[in-house]
Subunit: 227 residues, 2 copies
């Protein structure tokens, strides 16, 4: 087991509609990318590049339109399920870190966004990296928010320990670690909310590279005891 490094991608310009996010990252990231790095990119810049930006008027109506199921409502905040199956506040519609009068919607297909950025990074850097699109979600039962993976490309988002031995040699029965969410949360530490750093490189994470999608992190409503 080796050290894991969380490296901020410093110096990104403001992202605009149509921008090539992968290229912006590859240009500014000091030291370049290495084989099996995990590149975490915030939803905010992906949504801007994909022109998922709308007027900030009537956020409540927009959030409702982005939702397929309402779970809870408190004041002007709704907790709903998005078309992607994410349960979060205001369907991920958010006016922070975007120009005055505007707000961003979630990418239409964050897994596709991740795959596109990954393919482009592979082309630009010549190494095989994984990509996670992250967003900041609240949780039931616990205060505060953490970043989670809403889009994934190039790695298995869940480490399934079921059937593997623990340190005593006995078989683990229920453990499935959402490592992509742990990586997204770790990256949030260096991206912050006020720093203007929309991407980070996670190096040395003990993950399985290969196929995998952010949709695997969505608990099916029928299997969810809290929906």
């Amino acid at each position: 087991v080796n050290e894991v490094r969380i490296i901020p991608v410093v110096g990104m310009p403001e992202v605009r509609s149509g921008d090539d996010v992968a290229s912006l990252i590859a240009e500014v990231h000091e030291g370049g990318l290495e084989q099996h790095d995990v590149v975490v990119v915030t939803q905010k810049v992906v949504s801007k590049a994909e022109d998922r930006v709308v007027s900030a008027d009537n956020r409540a109506a927009v959030a409702a339109a982005e939702s397929v199921r309402m779970l809870r409502r408190r004041g002007s905040t709704i907790i709903s399920e998005t078309r992607h199956g994410f349960v979060c506040a205001n369907a991920g519609v958010d006016d922070s870190n975007v120009e005055e009068g505007l707000m961003t919607l979630l990418p239409v297909d964050p897994d596709l966004s991740a795959r596109r950025i990954r393919a482009r990074l592979a082309h630009l850097s010549g190494v095989d990296v994984a990509v996670i699109i992250s967003d900041t979600f609240g949780r039931a039962w616990r205060t505060g928010q953490t970043d989670v993976a809403i889009g994934v490309a190039g790695l298995e988002p869940i480490v399934d320990y079921r059937g593997r031995p623990d340190a005593f040699g006995r078989t683990l029965e229920a453990t499935m670690i959402a490592v992509a969410d742990e990586i997204a949360g770790a990256a949030e530490m260096v991206m912050g909310k006020s720093f203007g750093i929309p991407a980070a490189v996670v190096r040395g994470a003990p993950v399985t590279f290969g196929r995998g999608s952010g949709q695997e992190l969505v608990r099916h409503p029928l299997e969810d005891l809290f929906r």
Copy 2:
């Protein structure tokens, strides 16, 4: 914003009742501790050191006894609220990574456990570190589990951005990041479940050192829309 490093503490012996966990960490951790490191320790070794180990017979009854409120039940698994206010499976009662026939209960007061380990590490290493006791919890709405902070000493577990400017200079309204949970999750990556590594050092995390407790991460039941 600097790089964050997640460094496994390699070579810890099996922890037994009465052991000085801080001393075991300080003895084996290569390179020593540095000022404002965050030392993450798994609940499992803290519970063993504090003799929170019981017979694995009748887990369901023990989990019920450790609970103050039942939320859901599926098969032999309960989702309940513990005395600490944590909502998790089987009240944190768990038979992985412990000797055959035994299981661990959560520490009686994980914040106190964290404060004790922190004080002892300060004494042994001469530097001021923060301590997080981590455990692996499931979540509503998302598959898989992540490590979260059940005990905290020496740092503010929540980074409160409310009132701070975003990258556009506008005031953030609702953002409170549960950075202690993000650190616990990041540390899980190097601790794993099969590696026999019960502690990690997180270096360079942009946190506020000072007072703070794991209880701040517990959403009060009256403010929780999902309890």
